[in-house]
Protein backbone atom coordinates (compact mmCIF):
# COMPACT_ATOMS: atom_id res chain seq x y z
CA UNK A 1 0.00 0.00 0.00
CA UNK A 2 1.44 3.40 -1.02
CA UNK A 3 1.80 6.01 1.67
CA UNK A 4 1.44 9.38 -0.07
CA UNK A 5 -0.65 11.88 1.95
CA UNK A 6 -3.29 11.95 -0.83
CA UNK A 7 -3.57 8.20 -0.86
CA UNK A 8 -3.82 8.01 2.93
CA UNK A 9 -6.48 10.70 2.88
CA UNK A 10 -8.57 8.93 0.21
CA UNK A 11 -8.31 5.63 2.04
CA UNK A 12 -9.33 7.22 5.34
CA UNK A 13 -12.36 8.81 3.68
CA UNK A 14 -13.48 5.40 2.46
CA UNK A 15 -12.72 3.90 5.87
CA UNK A 16 -14.77 6.58 7.64
CA UNK A 17 -17.71 6.01 5.29
CA UNK A 18 -17.54 2.23 5.73
CA UNK A 19 -16.83 1.75 2.02
CA UNK A 20 -13.60 -0.30 2.20
CA UNK A 21 -13.70 -3.94 1.20
CA UNK A 22 -13.07 -6.35 4.12
CA UNK A 23 -9.43 -7.20 3.28
CA UNK A 24 -8.44 -3.51 2.93
CA UNK A 25 -10.39 -2.68 6.07
CA UNK A 26 -8.24 -5.07 8.12
CA UNK A 27 -5.10 -3.67 6.52
CA UNK A 28 -6.09 -0.07 7.37
CA UNK A 29 -7.04 -1.02 10.92
CA UNK A 30 -3.59 -2.56 11.38
CA UNK A 31 -1.91 0.55 9.99
CA UNK A 32 -3.92 2.78 12.30
CA UNK A 33 -2.73 0.73 15.24
CA UNK A 34 0.95 0.70 14.29
CA UNK A 35 1.93 3.42 11.79
CA UNK A 36 2.49 6.94 13.24
CA UNK A 37 1.95 8.59 9.82
CA UNK A 38 -1.47 6.96 9.48
CA UNK A 39 -2.33 7.76 13.10
CA UNK A 40 -1.48 11.43 12.60
CA UNK A 41 -3.47 11.55 9.36
CA UNK A 42 -6.45 9.93 11.11
CA UNK A 43 -6.33 12.42 13.99
CA UNK A 44 -6.20 15.29 11.54
CA UNK A 45 -9.04 13.80 9.50
CA UNK A 46 -11.18 13.34 12.62
CA UNK A 47 -10.62 16.93 13.75
CA UNK A 48 -11.46 18.20 10.27
CA UNK A 49 -14.68 16.20 9.96
CA UNK A 50 -15.66 17.11 13.54
CA UNK A 51 -15.15 20.77 12.60
CA UNK A 52 -17.39 20.37 9.55
CA UNK A 53 -19.96 18.69 11.78
CA UNK A 54 -19.72 21.51 14.32
CA UNK A 55 -20.25 24.03 11.54
CA UNK A 56 -23.45 22.25 10.45
CA UNK A 57 -24.71 22.03 14.02
CA UNK A 58 -23.99 25.70 14.59
CA UNK A 59 -25.92 26.56 11.42
CA UNK A 60 -28.89 24.74 12.95
CA UNK A 61 -28.27 26.50 16.22
CA UNK A 62 -28.45 29.89 14.52
CA UNK A 63 -31.75 28.86 12.90
CA UNK A 64 -33.08 28.08 16.38
CA UNK A 65 -31.72 31.35 17.75
CA UNK A 66 -33.60 33.27 15.03
CA UNK A 67 -36.71 31.34 15.89
CA UNK A 68 -36.18 32.14 19.55
CA UNK A 69 -35.89 35.84 18.67
CA UNK A 70 -39.15 35.57 16.70
CA UNK A 71 -40.86 33.94 19.66
CA UNK A 72 -39.56 36.59 22.01
CA UNK A 73 -40.59 39.49 19.79
CA UNK A 74 -44.30 39.49 20.74
CA UNK A 75 -43.18 39.77 24.38
CA UNK A 76 -41.50 43.10 23.73
CA UNK A 77 -44.46 44.40 21.79
CA UNK A 78 -46.83 43.47 24.62
CA UNK A 79 -44.65 45.13 27.26
CA UNK A 80 -44.26 48.30 25.16
CA UNK A 81 -47.98 48.46 24.52
CA UNK A 82 -48.69 49.38 28.11
CA UNK A 83 -50.13 46.10 29.24
CA UNK A 84 -51.01 46.56 32.92
CA UNK A 85 -49.63 43.07 33.55
CA UNK A 86 -46.19 44.29 32.47
CA UNK A 87 -45.75 46.05 35.81
CA UNK A 88 -46.30 42.79 37.59
CA UNK A 89 -43.76 40.99 35.44
CA UNK A 90 -40.98 43.54 35.83
CA UNK A 91 -39.59 42.16 39.07
CA UNK A 92 -36.93 39.42 38.92
CA UNK A 93 -39.12 37.12 40.99
CA UNK A 94 -41.86 37.24 38.42
CA UNK A 95 -39.61 36.46 35.43
CA UNK A 96 -40.74 32.89 35.50
CA UNK A 97 -44.39 33.92 35.34
CA UNK A 98 -43.60 36.41 32.60
CA UNK A 99 -41.88 33.75 30.52
CA UNK A 100 -44.70 31.31 30.97
CA UNK A 101 -47.49 33.74 30.33
CA UNK A 102 -46.13 35.86 27.50
CA UNK A 103 -43.88 33.77 25.29
CA UNK A 104 -46.44 31.08 24.83
CA UNK A 105 -49.37 33.38 24.22
CA UNK A 106 -50.66 31.71 21.04
CA UNK A 107 -50.18 28.24 22.51
CA UNK A 108 -51.79 29.16 25.82
CA UNK A 109 -54.85 30.44 23.95
CA UNK A 110 -55.10 27.05 22.32
CA UNK A 111 -54.58 25.41 25.67
CA UNK A 112 -57.36 27.52 27.19
CA UNK A 113 -59.75 26.51 24.45
CA UNK A 114 -58.73 22.89 24.80
CA UNK A 115 -59.08 23.04 28.54
CA UNK A 116 -62.51 24.64 28.30
CA UNK A 117 -63.62 21.99 25.85
CA UNK A 118 -62.25 19.19 27.97
CA UNK A 119 -63.77 20.66 31.12
CA UNK A 120 -67.14 20.85 29.31
CA UNK A 121 -66.89 17.21 28.29
CA UNK A 122 -65.96 16.32 31.84
CA UNK A 123 -68.92 18.27 33.21
CA UNK A 124 -71.30 16.58 30.76
CA UNK A 125 -69.99 13.14 31.77
CA UNK A 126 -70.35 13.96 35.47
CA UNK A 127 -73.85 15.24 34.86
CA UNK A 128 -74.80 11.97 33.20
CA UNK A 129 -73.33 10.04 36.12
CA UNK A 130 -75.27 12.22 38.56
CA UNK A 131 -78.52 11.54 36.72
CA UNK A 132 -77.74 7.82 36.86
CA UNK A 133 -77.20 8.03 40.62
CA UNK A 134 -80.43 9.97 41.08
CA UNK A 135 -82.32 7.26 39.18
CA UNK A 136 -80.64 4.65 41.38
CA UNK A 137 -81.64 6.63 44.47
CA UNK A 138 -85.24 6.62 43.34
CA UNK A 139 -85.13 2.84 42.95
CA UNK A 140 -83.70 2.31 46.46
CA UNK A 141 -86.31 4.67 47.92
CA UNK A 142 -89.07 2.51 46.42
CA UNK A 143 -91.01 0.51 49.02
CA UNK A 144 -89.62 -3.00 49.41
CA UNK A 145 -90.48 -5.95 51.56
CA UNK A 146 -89.14 -5.54 55.15
CA UNK A 147 -86.88 -8.66 54.94
CA UNK A 148 -85.14 -7.25 51.85
CA UNK A 149 -84.36 -3.95 53.63
CA UNK A 150 -82.77 -5.76 56.61
CA UNK A 151 -80.60 -7.72 54.18
CA UNK A 152 -79.45 -4.47 52.54
CA UNK A 153 -78.62 -2.90 55.94
CA UNK A 154 -76.62 -6.00 56.96
CA UNK A 155 -74.65 -5.85 53.73
CA UNK A 156 -73.89 -2.18 54.30
CA UNK A 157 -72.58 -2.91 57.80
CA UNK A 158 -70.43 -5.79 56.60
CA UNK A 159 -69.03 -3.57 53.81
CA UNK A 160 -68.22 -0.82 56.31
CA UNK A 161 -66.37 -3.25 58.62
CA UNK A 162 -64.36 -4.66 55.69
CA UNK A 163 -63.50 -1.14 54.51
CA UNK A 164 -62.38 -0.25 58.06
CA UNK A 165 -60.03 -3.26 58.20
CA UNK A 166 -58.53 -2.49 54.79
CA UNK A 167 -58.13 1.17 55.78
CA UNK A 168 -56.30 0.18 58.98
CA UNK A 169 -53.78 -1.94 57.03
CA UNK A 170 -53.24 0.84 54.50
CA UNK A 171 -52.47 3.34 57.27
CA UNK A 172 -50.03 0.85 58.85
CA UNK A 173 -48.32 0.36 55.49
CA UNK A 174 -48.01 4.11 55.01
CA UNK A 175 -46.54 4.50 58.49
CA UNK A 176 -43.95 1.79 57.73
CA UNK A 177 -43.01 3.52 54.49
CA UNK A 178 -42.48 6.81 56.29
CA UNK A 179 -40.11 5.17 58.75
CA UNK A 180 -38.12 3.42 56.03
CA UNK A 181 -34.66 4.94 55.31
CA UNK A 182 -34.84 7.44 52.44
CA UNK A 183 -31.68 6.21 50.79
CA UNK A 184 -30.65 2.99 49.26
CA UNK A 185 -26.88 2.96 49.55
CA UNK A 186 -26.02 0.30 52.12
CA UNK A 187 -22.68 1.77 53.19
CA UNK A 188 -24.22 5.15 53.92
CA UNK A 189 -26.99 3.63 56.06
CA UNK A 190 -24.43 2.69 58.71
CA UNK A 191 -21.74 5.35 58.16
CA UNK A 192 -23.71 8.48 57.35
CA UNK A 193 -22.32 10.50 60.27
CA UNK A 194 -18.82 10.39 58.76
CA UNK A 195 -20.12 12.41 55.82
CA UNK A 196 -21.38 15.39 57.81
CA UNK A 197 -18.41 17.70 57.59
CA UNK A 198 -19.65 21.25 58.07
CA UNK A 199 -19.89 20.97 61.84
CA UNK A 200 -16.45 19.38 62.09
CA UNK A 201 -14.37 21.28 59.60
CA UNK A 202 -15.76 24.79 59.31
CA UNK A 203 -15.04 27.66 61.67
CA UNK A 204 -17.75 29.62 63.49
CA UNK A 205 -17.11 32.69 61.34
CA UNK A 206 -17.83 30.60 58.25
CA UNK A 207 -21.09 29.43 59.77
CA UNK A 208 -22.17 33.02 60.17
CA UNK A 209 -21.83 33.55 56.43
CA UNK A 210 -24.33 30.80 55.60
CA UNK A 211 -26.77 31.75 52.96
CA UNK A 212 -30.31 30.49 52.99
CA UNK A 213 -29.92 27.83 50.30
CA UNK A 214 -26.78 26.48 51.88
CA UNK A 215 -28.36 26.37 55.32
CA UNK A 216 -31.51 24.60 54.09
CA UNK A 217 -29.45 22.26 51.89
CA UNK A 218 -27.15 21.30 54.78
CA UNK A 219 -30.07 20.80 57.18
CA UNK A 220 -31.96 18.60 54.74
CA UNK A 221 -28.77 16.64 54.07
CA UNK A 222 -28.21 16.06 57.80
CA UNK A 223 -31.85 14.95 58.10
CA UNK A 224 -31.14 12.56 55.21
CA UNK A 225 -33.90 14.11 53.11
CA UNK A 226 -31.73 13.74 50.03
CA UNK A 227 -34.29 14.31 47.31
CA UNK A 228 -35.40 17.55 48.92
CA UNK A 229 -31.80 18.62 49.61
CA UNK A 230 -30.65 18.32 45.96
CA UNK A 231 -32.05 21.61 44.57
CA UNK A 232 -30.79 23.65 47.53
CA UNK A 233 -27.33 22.14 47.37
CA UNK A 234 -27.19 22.73 43.60
CA UNK A 235 -28.19 26.34 44.06
CA UNK A 236 -25.73 26.86 46.88
CA UNK A 237 -22.92 25.34 44.79
CA UNK A 238 -23.70 27.49 41.78
CA UNK A 239 -24.26 30.76 43.59
CA UNK A 240 -21.66 30.67 46.33
CA UNK A 241 -19.04 28.28 44.95
CA UNK A 242 -19.33 26.22 48.13
CA UNK A 243 -17.29 23.04 47.67
CA UNK A 244 -18.94 21.32 50.62
CA UNK A 245 -22.35 21.82 48.98
CA UNK A 246 -20.99 20.03 45.92
CA UNK A 247 -19.64 17.25 48.14
CA UNK A 248 -23.04 16.85 49.82
CA UNK A 249 -24.67 16.91 46.39
CA UNK A 250 -22.41 14.05 45.31
CA UNK A 251 -23.13 12.03 48.49
CA UNK A 252 -26.87 12.68 48.05
CA UNK A 253 -26.74 11.21 44.55
CA UNK A 254 -24.93 8.17 45.96
CA UNK A 255 -27.53 7.84 48.70
CA UNK A 256 -30.35 7.98 46.19
CA UNK A 257 -28.68 5.38 43.98
CA UNK A 258 -27.99 7.84 41.14
CA UNK A 259 -24.69 6.12 40.46
CA UNK A 260 -24.06 7.79 37.11
CA UNK A 261 -24.14 11.29 38.60
CA UNK A 262 -22.28 10.12 41.68
CA UNK A 263 -19.38 8.87 39.54
CA UNK A 264 -19.39 11.96 37.31
CA UNK A 265 -19.40 14.40 40.22
CA UNK A 266 -16.82 12.37 42.12
CA UNK A 267 -14.36 12.75 39.24
CA UNK A 268 -14.81 16.51 39.18
CA UNK A 269 -11.61 18.52 39.87
CA UNK A 270 -13.45 20.20 42.76
CA UNK A 271 -13.51 16.99 44.80
CA UNK A 272 -9.93 15.84 44.29
CA UNK A 273 -8.76 16.69 47.81
CA UNK A 274 -7.62 13.71 49.85
CA UNK A 275 -10.39 13.94 52.44
CA UNK A 276 -13.19 14.01 49.86
CA UNK A 277 -11.65 11.23 47.80
CA UNK A 278 -11.16 8.95 50.82
CA UNK A 279 -14.76 9.44 51.90
CA UNK A 280 -16.20 9.06 48.40
CA UNK A 281 -14.12 5.98 47.62
CA UNK A 282 -15.63 4.23 50.62
CA UNK A 283 -19.08 4.42 49.04
CA UNK A 284 -19.54 1.41 46.80
Amino acid sequence: MTNTPEHIRETLELYDRGELDPSRLLEVQALLRSDPAWQAAWRSFRSETAGIRLNRLKTNLSVLESLEAELKDPEKKTAAGGDPGAVLTSSPESNHIKQASETSQPESMEETIDRNTSEGIRFSRLHQALNGLKAEEKKTADPRPAGGRILVIRRIWLGAIAAGIIGFFLVMQLFNNLNRPKYINQYLITHFDEYILHEKSRSKSEKLTFNKDKEIGYDLFVLQEFTEALPYLQKSWLNSNDTLSFFYLTVSHAALGNNKYFREYKSSPVLQSQLYQILLNKIK
Binding site: S47, G51, R53, N55, E65, L67
Partner: protein
Protein backbone atom coordinates in the same frame (compact mmCIF):
# COMPACT_ATOMS: atom_id res chain seq x y z
CA UNK B 1 -50.31 16.95 20.09
CA UNK B 2 -49.30 13.41 19.36
CA UNK B 3 -46.21 13.21 17.20
CA UNK B 4 -45.23 10.26 15.09
CA UNK B 5 -41.61 9.87 16.13
CA UNK B 6 -40.56 7.70 13.18
CA UNK B 7 -41.98 10.33 10.90
CA UNK B 8 -39.86 13.00 12.61
CA UNK B 9 -36.69 10.94 12.15
CA UNK B 10 -37.46 10.44 8.44
CA UNK B 11 -38.19 14.13 7.95
CA UNK B 12 -34.95 15.24 9.60
CA UNK B 13 -32.94 12.70 7.59
CA UNK B 14 -34.44 13.88 4.34
CA UNK B 15 -33.32 17.44 5.12
CA UNK B 16 -36.71 18.92 6.04
CA UNK B 17 -35.64 22.05 7.93
CA UNK B 18 -39.12 22.81 9.26
CA UNK B 19 -39.12 19.69 11.42
CA UNK B 20 -36.57 21.18 13.84
CA UNK B 21 -38.56 24.41 14.09
CA UNK B 22 -41.71 22.42 14.88
CA UNK B 23 -39.97 20.45 17.60
CA UNK B 24 -38.57 23.67 18.99
CA UNK B 25 -41.94 25.41 19.14
CA UNK B 26 -43.69 22.41 20.63
CA UNK B 27 -41.35 21.55 23.49
CA UNK B 28 -39.72 24.91 24.25
CA UNK B 29 -42.04 26.07 26.99
CA UNK B 30 -42.41 22.77 28.86
CA UNK B 31 -38.65 22.23 28.69
CA UNK B 32 -37.80 25.68 30.03
CA UNK B 33 -40.21 25.36 32.92
CA UNK B 34 -38.99 21.89 33.74
CA UNK B 35 -35.22 22.58 33.58
CA UNK B 36 -35.59 25.78 35.62
CA UNK B 37 -37.39 23.82 38.31
CA UNK B 38 -34.73 21.11 38.30
CA UNK B 39 -31.57 23.22 38.16
CA UNK B 40 -32.51 26.74 39.27
CA UNK B 41 -30.98 28.13 36.09
CA UNK B 42 -31.95 31.39 34.42
CA UNK B 43 -34.27 31.71 31.42
CA UNK B 44 -31.30 32.36 29.14
CA UNK B 45 -29.45 29.29 30.38
CA UNK B 46 -32.58 27.16 30.01
CA UNK B 47 -32.91 28.33 26.39
CA UNK B 48 -29.26 27.48 25.69
CA UNK B 49 -29.79 23.99 27.11
CA UNK B 50 -32.88 23.53 25.00
CA UNK B 51 -31.25 24.71 21.78
CA UNK B 52 -28.29 22.43 22.41
CA UNK B 53 -30.61 19.49 23.10
CA UNK B 54 -32.52 20.04 19.83
CA UNK B 55 -29.29 20.29 17.85
CA UNK B 56 -27.90 17.13 19.47
CA UNK B 57 -31.15 15.32 18.66
CA UNK B 58 -30.62 16.37 15.03
CA UNK B 59 -26.99 15.19 15.14
CA UNK B 60 -27.95 11.82 16.59
CA UNK B 61 -30.41 11.30 13.76
CA UNK B 62 -28.03 12.40 11.00
CA UNK B 63 -25.11 10.32 12.33
CA UNK B 64 -27.35 7.26 12.60
CA UNK B 65 -27.06 6.96 16.39
CA UNK B 66 -30.80 7.36 16.60
CA UNK B 67 -32.73 5.27 14.11
CA UNK B 68 -35.84 4.66 16.13
CA UNK B 69 -37.27 6.00 19.35
CA UNK B 70 -38.60 3.71 22.03
CA UNK B 71 -39.93 6.71 23.91
CA UNK B 72 -41.53 10.00 22.94
CA UNK B 73 -39.39 12.73 21.31
CA UNK B 74 -40.08 14.84 24.39
CA UNK B 75 -38.58 12.23 26.74
CA UNK B 76 -35.48 11.90 24.56
CA UNK B 77 -35.05 15.65 24.28
CA UNK B 78 -35.48 16.21 28.01
CA UNK B 79 -32.97 13.43 28.68
CA UNK B 80 -30.32 15.16 26.55
CA UNK B 81 -31.09 18.48 28.24
CA UNK B 82 -30.75 16.95 31.68
CA UNK B 83 -27.38 15.40 30.85
CA UNK B 84 -26.10 18.70 29.49
CA UNK B 85 -27.32 20.52 32.60
CA UNK B 86 -25.55 18.02 34.85
CA UNK B 87 -22.40 18.44 32.79
CA UNK B 88 -22.68 22.20 33.19
CA UNK B 89 -23.23 21.81 36.91
CA UNK B 90 -20.21 19.56 37.21
CA UNK B 91 -17.92 22.01 35.45
CA UNK B 92 -19.78 24.88 37.11
CA UNK B 93 -19.35 27.36 34.32
CA UNK B 94 -20.62 30.33 36.27
CA UNK B 95 -20.39 32.79 33.41
CA UNK B 96 -23.49 31.14 31.98
CA UNK B 97 -24.29 28.36 29.57
CA UNK B 98 -22.89 28.55 26.03
CA UNK B 99 -24.26 26.22 23.39
CA UNK B 100 -20.94 26.41 21.53
CA UNK B 101 -19.03 24.99 24.47
CA UNK B 102 -21.66 22.35 25.13
CA UNK B 103 -21.42 21.25 21.49
CA UNK B 104 -17.63 21.12 21.53
CA UNK B 105 -17.71 19.05 24.74
CA UNK B 106 -20.27 16.80 23.10
CA UNK B 107 -18.05 16.24 20.05
CA UNK B 108 -14.98 15.73 22.23
CA UNK B 109 -16.72 12.86 24.02
CA UNK B 110 -16.29 10.88 20.79
CA UNK B 111 -12.59 11.76 20.56
CA UNK B 112 -11.44 11.46 24.18
CA UNK B 113 -7.89 10.51 23.15
CA UNK B 114 -7.28 14.04 21.77
CA UNK B 115 -6.40 16.86 24.15
CA UNK B 116 -9.56 18.88 24.79
CA UNK B 117 -7.99 22.30 24.25
CA UNK B 118 -6.26 21.26 20.98
CA UNK B 119 -9.43 19.65 19.77
CA UNK B 120 -11.48 22.75 20.52
CA UNK B 121 -8.94 24.93 18.73
CA UNK B 122 -9.00 22.74 15.60
CA UNK B 123 -12.79 22.64 15.60
CA UNK B 124 -13.08 26.40 15.89
CA UNK B 125 -10.58 26.85 13.05
CA UNK B 126 -12.50 24.47 10.74
CA UNK B 127 -15.78 26.09 11.73
CA UNK B 128 -14.43 29.56 10.90
CA UNK B 129 -12.91 28.17 7.70
CA UNK B 130 -16.25 26.70 6.62
CA UNK B 131 -17.90 30.07 7.14
CA UNK B 132 -15.23 31.76 5.04
CA UNK B 133 -15.59 29.17 2.28
CA UNK B 134 -19.19 30.06 1.56
CA UNK B 135 -21.52 28.18 -0.76
CA UNK B 136 -21.58 25.74 -2.48
CA UNK B 137 -18.36 24.45 -0.86
CA UNK B 138 -19.86 24.57 2.61
CA UNK B 139 -22.84 22.43 1.68
CA UNK B 140 -20.76 20.12 -0.47
CA UNK B 141 -18.29 19.31 2.32
CA UNK B 142 -21.05 19.03 4.87
CA UNK B 143 -23.04 16.62 2.68
CA UNK B 144 -19.99 14.47 2.03
CA UNK B 145 -18.21 14.41 5.39
CA UNK B 146 -21.06 14.93 7.84
CA UNK B 147 -24.22 13.59 6.24
CA UNK B 148 -22.18 11.04 4.29
CA UNK B 149 -24.30 11.39 1.18
CA UNK B 150 -23.13 9.58 -1.95
CA UNK B 151 -21.73 11.56 -4.87
CA UNK B 152 -24.91 10.81 -6.79
CA UNK B 153 -27.07 12.32 -4.04
CA UNK B 154 -24.77 15.34 -3.84
CA UNK B 155 -25.08 15.83 -7.63
CA UNK B 156 -28.86 15.85 -7.26
CA UNK B 157 -28.89 18.28 -4.37
CA UNK B 158 -26.34 20.72 -5.80
CA UNK B 159 -27.18 20.35 -9.49
CA UNK B 160 -23.81 19.08 -10.68
CA UNK B 161 -23.58 17.56 -14.15
CA UNK B 162 -22.03 14.30 -13.02
CA UNK B 163 -20.20 12.61 -10.16
CA UNK B 164 -16.75 13.48 -11.54
CA UNK B 165 -17.58 17.18 -11.49
CA UNK B 166 -18.77 16.86 -7.90
CA UNK B 167 -15.62 14.94 -6.94
CA UNK B 168 -13.36 17.58 -8.46
CA UNK B 169 -15.29 20.33 -6.78
CA UNK B 170 -15.07 18.51 -3.44
CA UNK B 171 -11.30 18.19 -3.79
CA UNK B 172 -10.92 21.90 -4.54
CA UNK B 173 -13.17 22.89 -1.64
CA UNK B 174 -11.25 20.69 0.77
CA UNK B 175 -7.92 22.18 -0.30
CA UNK B 176 -9.30 25.68 0.16
CA UNK B 177 -10.64 24.78 3.59
CA UNK B 178 -7.29 23.33 4.66
CA UNK B 179 -5.50 26.42 3.45
CA UNK B 180 -7.88 28.76 5.32
CA UNK B 181 -7.53 26.66 8.50
CA UNK B 182 -3.73 26.78 8.25
CA UNK B 183 -3.94 30.57 7.95
CA UNK B 184 -6.27 30.82 10.94
CA UNK B 185 -4.02 28.64 13.08
CA UNK B 186 -0.95 30.53 11.86
CA UNK B 187 -2.45 33.83 12.91
CA UNK B 188 -3.25 32.45 16.35
CA UNK B 189 0.33 31.20 16.87
Amino acid sequence: MHRDTTHIIDRIRSGDEDSLREIYREYRQPFIQWIKGEFFCSDDDAIEFFQTAVVILYDNIITGKLTELNSHVKTYLFGIGKNKAHEWLRHRQRQGVHSDELLINYLHEENPEVDEADFAESLRAVDAGMNQLGEPCRSLLSYFYYQKLSMREICERLDYKNEDTAKNQKYKCLKRLQSICADIKGVKV
